[in-house]
Subunit: 237 residues, 4 copies
Amino acid sequence: MISKSKLHKLVHYSDHRAGKIFAFTIHILILISLFSFSLETLPNLTDTQYLILHMVETVIVILFTCEYLLRLYISKNKTSYIFSFYGLIDLLAILPFYLTSGVDLRTVRLFRLLRVLRIFKLLKYSKALQRFQRAFILVKEEMLLFGFVALITLYLAAVGIYYFEHAAQPEQFQSVFHSLWWALITLTTVGYGDMYPITAGGKLFTFIVLIIGLGIVAVPTGLIATALSQTRKEEQS
Amino acid sequence: MISKSKLHKLVHYSDHRAGKIFAFTIHILILISLFSFSLETLPNLTDTQYLILHMVETVIVILFTCEYLLRLYISKNKTSYIFSFYGLIDLLAILPFYLTSGVDLRTVRLFRLLRVLRIFKLLKYSKALQRFQRAFILVKEEMLLFGFVALITLYLAAVGIYYFEHAAQPEQFQSVFHSLWWALITLTTVGYGDMYPITAGGKLFTFIVLIIGLGIVAVPTGLIATALSQTRKEEQS
Amino acid sequence: MISKSKLHKLVHYSDHRAGKIFAFTIHILILISLFSFSLETLPNLTDTQYLILHMVETVIVILFTCEYLLRLYISKNKTSYIFSFYGLIDLLAILPFYLTSGVDLRTVRLFRLLRVLRIFKLLKYSKALQRFQRAFILVKEEMLLFGFVALITLYLAAVGIYYFEHAAQPEQFQSVFHSLWWALITLTTVGYGDMYPITAGGKLFTFIVLIIGLGIVAVPTGLIATALSQTRKEEQS
Amino acid sequence: MISKSKLHKLVHYSDHRAGKIFAFTIHILILISLFSFSLETLPNLTDTQYLILHMVETVIVILFTCEYLLRLYISKNKTSYIFSFYGLIDLLAILPFYLTSGVDLRTVRLFRLLRVLRIFKLLKYSKALQRFQRAFILVKEEMLLFGFVALITLYLAAVGIYYFEHAAQPEQFQSVFHSLWWALITLTTVGYGDMYPITAGGKLFTFIVLIIGLGIVAVPTGLIATALSQTRKEEQS
């Protein structure tokens, strides 16, 4: 029989072979879970296909349950594991299956997606993430400033376009809130084309808003990139 | 009774508790004012909802009036406060309410939005803003150059597409001014889809304009980001 | 009477008062010329408006002719001025007016737009432009490489989408050339919405193309920005 | 008669005149091949035009065959050339022509496009590419991290919008896979306008997704640019 300490090593350390296989299996299961979850949303599934997906789901939840029980068994302090961040996620991922089996509560099954966070845990030891965190701290103040100014810019752009376009397109620019959607889609340059100014004043206003606003919205991205480059240099020297 | 000097400290210094609460309250009031202003633009408001919004507005304007009188009371030079930048904004934010009460002049109420500038005042002491200002001075010349070249590019793109598309789409590309709208929406990559070339010549022209123009329009953003990074480095050393 | 050498100073040196006024007047005339050119393209102009625009045009061309004759008069070597770059532009800007007066040849009048290049001449002494030129030389090789790879990427994206979408949308994706338009509008993220894949294969292909292609198309802009920052630093030290 | 070693020099070294001409001719042929391939996809070609294109194709394939035989003749180890990467590409580019002559198998002719890779071979000695490779290695870890996080972001954005919009637009947001297409087109800011949220919840969700997601998707580009700048600096010092 395998000792508890050996199981502990298997689950928590991935620097030896068995540990690596264990971690790899869990992550593959999470990815399969995400994929089968997406497949279930497809319309016009045949009964056979739905049955297969349900079986896959059942197997995955059973495996996740085994993992949960294993983690519970090897933890020294049971309560602290149950109420830890990952402990709660692990529980939330399996609980809905047992409670709602038979009932079609898709929203509850959304909790299973939380297991995607387990993948982020993988990144905890990644050097790149640590560098990114240091870079983020470096530019935190500027990010906050630009984030705040960007929100004010979005708001003022929405109010402005509302005054220019409301009379000409009352259906499209119904209120400042509807105009905020336009401001977001325009200043991020997504430009769906569901709302756009048609008056000369509204177009001129958009001109000014884009000239000023694009910089404000796009600068934070450049900031992160240059900060990362600086962090990398400091690391090397 | 509270002394004048104590009130002065309350209003102008936010480094002690009472001052912080005062500044915080004012900023929250400004945000509530912005939000209620946006809510008023919603169509199909019931009478009750409109009444509530009007009451919120009245309360806010009264509080802003108190603040204005307080600031006037504590200022040593009354006239200099009244005609100062923030003094005028504070006045413009409340005056329309008293002058137009009863009359539905939405445009006049726009002045209340000017109070959003008070929030910008908050940023005056922010290190990030000072760094940003220094970075902007560093790249001012380049920004002017690129801004100017970008405007010329927009104009030439508009003239070009007008000659290619006017014959094929006289409704869309009516004049150089209508084409300028196309040039703006295309070169900022917003791309609403309300205007686009359909002739082979117009498409080829767009190809060339995008290859050359995207760089011109997008470089200024990158400039600010790298300048900020440089300013930050100089600060550290 | 004003001496020839004084006129020479007036036209060619803008570091004293008279020279500044002369240069400023010419640039304002060029801008008025651009603006009246754009106004003429407006549809539904009344006869009076058209007459005014024609008069403005006549006055501008007469002033440009005076300037041309003045430049010719003060130049030591007449032939070398006539066949110089700016000499030819100055001539092309006025010649069509005399040759086609009465005839409505809009295209010929396009030559007047060439005078916009005179504005670029202004920038010749600008420090920012010189820095930009040095930065461009610094990254010339990378720009060529990315420009070339970007063109190949556009081509391969067009061929790919043609094979995925031609059968489903023969009207939209008629040929590789039509698909090239899609590739350009997608990879520059303009996204007009006049052409987009509807098959699952085409969408998956777009996914891959965007993930790879966006970097290739967007990197050159970042290159110029970082190179400018480097050039500025070298200048300071 | 030309010796084998001379032919070897002709084909493999482009630092003397004859070698340069040989390499240049091959690349021009590849470009003509790409262009005639594209022309063939045009609809409504007349019989004469189709005949000319077929002739151009035949001539090009014959010339490519000569080149293949020449490369085979001069290589010391015949089998190693045949099964080398470029040997297989050269063969795949000509083989379909002989096998399917008469048969209209456009897809098979796609292999000829593989010859475009020969152009990439040209870049092998380019300093800019080497610098780019070093820059890429420098930021490989960050690229992987951001690439992975970007994929997760796309997936979660798709699941989220599916839950908000599926009820309101069952035709557009049919499944998580359909929503993934929306997530891709929105987060890359292409914004075709074929799918967009219409519910208030969906719009608010898009707001949050764009604010967070744009940075994640756009950072890798900035990373490459700053890394290239660093590599260039290290080279100079």
